[in-house]
Symmetry: C2
Subunit: 128 residues, 2 copies
DNA sequence: TATTGTTATACTCTATAACTATA
DNA sequence: TATAGTTATAGAGTATAACAATA
């Protein structure tokens, strides 16, 4: 049941991402960096469940658009310190708001009671 | 939240499928055919959300192993009538049982009440 | 010599297009 | 000529391996 539902959700959020000029990976990275600065690209890759080589292009583009900051650590110039910028946070918030409002199409089918149980159950299973 | 959860579920069911010598697509096809005979491969592809060219290899293999039946329709020899065999149903049931028991690792975190609400909510949103 | 990040290569999966056989 | 199925080709996405820079 989860597979078709997730497919629909992803399809539905595509236009919202496009309106904010974000790819799925760009959005995922912004969300991860909004939860806190990360010290290495490898750590970020792990946090978003991606290969370290897979996010490089994404980081290049986000940096070009000043949505993230990415500079060599002065203490170890091999590593890149990563942080979201104010502009990046603004884009992320806008996209997230649109996505969450789109999700109402599904969550709106539930009663307040069901909705709270559903989200709590999902959260518990996700963090298991 | 759904994405990482589904990823884990899929990863967890892989060994169960392997033990029954099934690919993900093979399992999906057997499940679809177990819900009822299908008249054309295109219809089956649509039912499992796949391209019609994508399931041909799967059908070849399932047929070789006598898990499905696939014969030209006498009334229109262009179309292939598709049906699961008894052997196919047995394999599907075995795999499904293992998969569902594996899912207990997650559903077991919920109370009986939560579990029933969760599954009902999921079902309603899936069919929307 | 080991590690971070990058680039280059190969592989898998999927989608598109051309082909065969029936109608 | 149109349709079901098949095969061949091309494209996207991802993973693996080689490389450059720092330590």
């Amino acid at each position: 049941m989860l597979t078709p539902l997730l497919r629909e959700l992803v399809a539905a959020e595509k236009p919202a991402l496009a309106r904010n000029d974000l790819t799925m990976w760009g959005y995922v990275v912004l969300c991860a960096l909004d939860r806190g600065t990360v010290r290495t690209q490898a750590a970020l890759a792990q946090a978003v469940n991606a290969d370290k080589t897979r996010i490089i292009g994404t980081l290049d583009e986000l940096q070009d658009r000043n949505l993230i900051e990415r500079r060599p650590d002065p203490e170890d110039r091999r590593v890149r310190l990563l942080a979201i910028t104010d502009a990046g946070r603004a884009v992320k918030e806008a996209a997230q708001a649109e996505i969450q409002s789109g999700e109402e199409r599904w969550l709106g089918l539930l009663t307040a009671e069901e909705r709270s149980v559903f989200l709590r159950a999902l959260q518990r299973m996700t963090h298991a």
